[in-house]
Subunit: 242 residues, 2 copies
């Protein structure tokens, strides 16, 4: 077997570029680190290419396998520990929103928060996620790592929220924003089918423009002015409306 040992190898340089959003979008691919994510990617049929650490002793049955040195693996991975495998995955094609329970993110910035929200969504049966332009890329390696496979099970749709909200409402969806102030207390709400829950930016919440387009806006009742982490707030609302 041929082992790539040079950091200047053309293919390795191309793969390393997938750490940047613009190259992920240009190529329609992203990186998933480690064996568990390889297996999940395989199960979902999105494996494009596999990089194996030559000394790992791992074997996989794939059309395209590259064997690389420890040094190359280190360069490509985002974690401190030495990985045995990195998978180049195809970004799944977004499907039309069709589930009964939908999440929408307006300007969520922290990859850890997005990862938490996606894991919680899958736990509670929310299978579609709509991402506004100002929300971070979910194929960012931190999101990929923190969702540990849940990412591959969700239908992710990028959209202009000001366009898609009226469309969804026309299709019978109840689009509920979450508001830091001026919303109605969540306990006044009765869970309904065909729901879209909108969560917002860590500092500023859902934008006023989006809140003006929703059917209703929810406020999670608190005892203090302390603000909830958006991942926690999303979890509470997703459980309530599931």
């Amino acid at each position: 077997m041929e082992i790539i040992t040079s950091l200047n190898n053309g293919t390795i340089k191309e793969i390393a570029k997938l750490k940047q959003r613009k190259y992920r979008e240009k190529t329609g691919t992203f990186l998933a680190e480690g064996k568990h994510l390889y297996e999940e990617a395989k199960r979902c049929g999105i494996v494009k290419q596999v990089l194996l650490r030559a000394d790992s002793g791992l074997n996989v049955e794939e059309e395209s396998v590259l064997y690389v040195s420890d040094e190359v693996m280190h360069k490509l991975s985002d974690t401190v520990s030495l990985l045995d495998i990195i998978t180049v995955c195809r970004i799944p094609k977004a499907k039309e929103v069709s589930g009964n329970k939908v999440i929408m993110l307006d300007g969520v910035q922290d990859p850890g928060n997005i990862g938490t929200i996606i894991r919680t969504a899958i736990s509670f049966g929310y299978r579609d996620i709509i991402l506004g332009a100002s929300t971070v890329d979910i194929y960012n390696e931190k999101v990929v790592r923190s969702t540990q496979g849940a990412l591959f099970e969700i239908n992710a749709v990028r959209a202009d929220l000001t366009i898609i909200i009226p469309e969804l409402r026309q299709k019978g969806y109840h689009v509920y924003g979450t508001a830091l102030q001026n919303g109605r207390p969540m306990r006044e709400f009765v869970p309904v089918d065909k729901i879209v829950l909108v969560f917002g930016n860590e500092g500023n919440g859902v934008s006023d423009e989006v809140l003006s387009l929703t059917e209703k806006n929810i406020f999670i009742e608190m005892e203090t002015f302390e603000s909830l982490n958006v991942g926690v707030a999303a979890g509470i609302a997703m459980y309530y409306f599931k």
Copy 2:
């Protein structure tokens, strides 16, 4: 004013040791970074000493102020950005658990998760937190930073959970564990007064020993075998029972 510029200064070395749990426990003090936490600490009356970056232009009215160089400030702080102020705070004395809503942690390891749980607890009116031996120190700088002051508002009690659970039950508290399996679905529960909610380790949940001592055990109903982040699970349960 005298400015400490040497990293070998005896006082600076003592303060730097507060990054280690054993020195925090030995001295009954911990470090809080930045202006917001200084103000919160002052409001709570737990300021012991203040370190100011000499070039910051900041002024504070405190009995004990040390002026330090940028280099010394860098050494003491945990963050990349240069701080203007670090506060040496007194660890508040634990009071007897007296609130109606109490949180108990059994082996929670991640400082970010603890920080999230404390912020959520304060938001929902849980004012006592009981920490088992295997739970990380809440005066760890990552917890201090992530709670941003909520930490100073909670009564934190270290205890042997196998001893305190029976004591609390005797005092009329309903101690509910959260279980990864075999608990009763949360929606079967009616919120009660005098409640203690127990959350567990990120990988293994609440220990079997603790689950055997609780009055009842709760299971948060999910659609999949995906596991919830403990900070999210805690938020959902705290909201439900608040």
